[in-house]
Symmetry: none
Subunit: 250 residues, 2 copies
DNA sequence: TTCAAAATCAATCATAATCTTTCATAAGCA
DNA sequence: TGCTTATGAAAGATTATGATTGATTTTGAA
């Protein structure tokens, strides 16, 4: 067996298993313990895994470096915080809907290597999705050139082809009385339908979103959770009566 | 065994196997170890594979792929000639389907100001469409990252939302017997359905396309015309019995 | 908590496998 | 023939491997 084949085998096993024992690898490869040890040492130096006593463990998913356009985004840190938590909810093999928008865009680097299938209506997500090798589908629809979102009846209808394990939606505002809000009725319709087609539904927001057309009353989304990086106390009380809420902090 | 045959054999084996040992190649080719080593060294210099200790390994991912802009550069003049003629057929207010591909892309600048509505499955058309202020819709579907085309059942289905005055399709090849051909069955399905949903259908090609899954027998497209910049005489005779054909010249 | 046994580890060495370099021969071509 | 290219064989350098040793860490029972 070639050295590189062994290395590849080890990395593949770690994609499935989180950690693996040296003895298992010895049996699987018919190589000696010394050889396996050397393999693990080398792969660790390449940051491909982490050695632990008795074996090796998958490395912590690497922090993505924000591209230039990302840096221009407002509240980037908060968005990334929220996005990272949201991505941590995703499991291998999940089928996801990723809403158009800058917060959901931050999730993409964290999805790398999770073997997920992503459906999106956000044209601006495409580059990152392709770059990270994520299997992707696009909804159809009218191209809103200002935001790069696909909307309209064609967009809503093309959602009917799919069922999602999880959907991740962005919002423009949250109001304890009116629910989640977004200025464009057509975008609202897409969000609403995507949520309905998902087994569970997460709304991503950062603190700045407090404050036009609602796409869902909070209580409409019985399987939903709100992920946010902070919240005024009085709003929090009202909202948490109606939905699961996760407040992410540094 | 010829040198080039060996090279081809090695590359074919690496399409199946990810990596291969020199000893295996020695047995398969009955060449000496030295010869195989030289083969691998040469193929590595051409970036076709990567040498590893004891053998060779498939190269990391996306090396040998000509970028979209590179492809566009080939036969650009011919493509523009064809595209310009095709665009001249478009009337104000028309509803169009614009197939993914580099030839159809050349039509976009000529559509400016014609007040048309364009539906496309070509992601690479988006920038130009938006830039030229053309009202545009995108089909949904699976994203083929290599060509930037949307394909699959979702793409075909989202076509059902529309009816076209004219559709403009690209091809990979034309064969008098087999009809228009394209290597990907999924892309073929989209082209075929778009043609069916159109009042009239134009196939754009340049002379280089003479030569795998056919998307339509020529005679299937009773309302179709082929637009091309040149053609071998014998093929022309056969094809013009089956469809309208326009040969564009300088 | 402490200690000893068991497991795991890093370091070293000898061997085996593979690599590069070099040279000589064979084959194709003008 | 004279030139170029492809090939195979061989020598010495380099790299990978497996076994061994003694150090380190973990485990579990007192």
């Amino acid at each position: 067996m070639l050295t590189t084949e062994r290395h590849q085998l080890i990395l593949n096993l770690l994609k499935e298993k989180q950690s693996i024992k040296i003895q298992e690898l010895v049996e699987l490869t018919s190589a000696s313990e010394s050889t396996i040890r050397r393999d693990l040492t080398e792969l660790e130096e390449l940051q491909k895994l982490e050695r632990v006593f008795g074996g090796a463990s998958r490395i912590a998913q690497n922090m993505p470096e924000p591209s230039l356009s990302d840096k221009a985004a407002k509240n980037l840190k908060e968005k990334q915080l929220v996005a990272r938590y949201a991505a941590s909810l995703v499991k291998t093999g999940d089928s996801l809907f990723l809403d158009a928008g800058t917060t959901t865009a931050q999730m993409i680097p964290f999805l790398k290597g999770k073997d997920v299938t992503v459906v999106t209506n956000g044209l601006s997500h495409l580059e990152a999705l392709i770059e990270h090798g994520i299997t992707s589908y696009l909804t159809g629809g009218f191209i809103k050139s200002r935001t790069g979102a696909l909307v309209g009846p064609q967009a809503t209808q093309s959602l009917e082809n799919y069922r999602f394990d999880k959907s991740f939606l962005g919002v423009n505002g949250i109001h304890p009385g009116h629910g989640f809000t977004t200025p464009d009725p057509e975008e609202a319709a897409v969000k609403r339908r995507a949520g309905e087609l998902s087994r569970s539904c997460y709304v991503l927001a950062d603190q700045s979103k407090f404050g036009k057309v609602s796409f869902a009353h909070i209580s409409d989304l019985s399987r939903s959770a709100l992920i946010i990086d902070g919240l005024p106390d009085e709003a929090l009380e009202e909202i948490e009566r109606q939905t699961t809420i996760k407040v992410v902090t540094q």
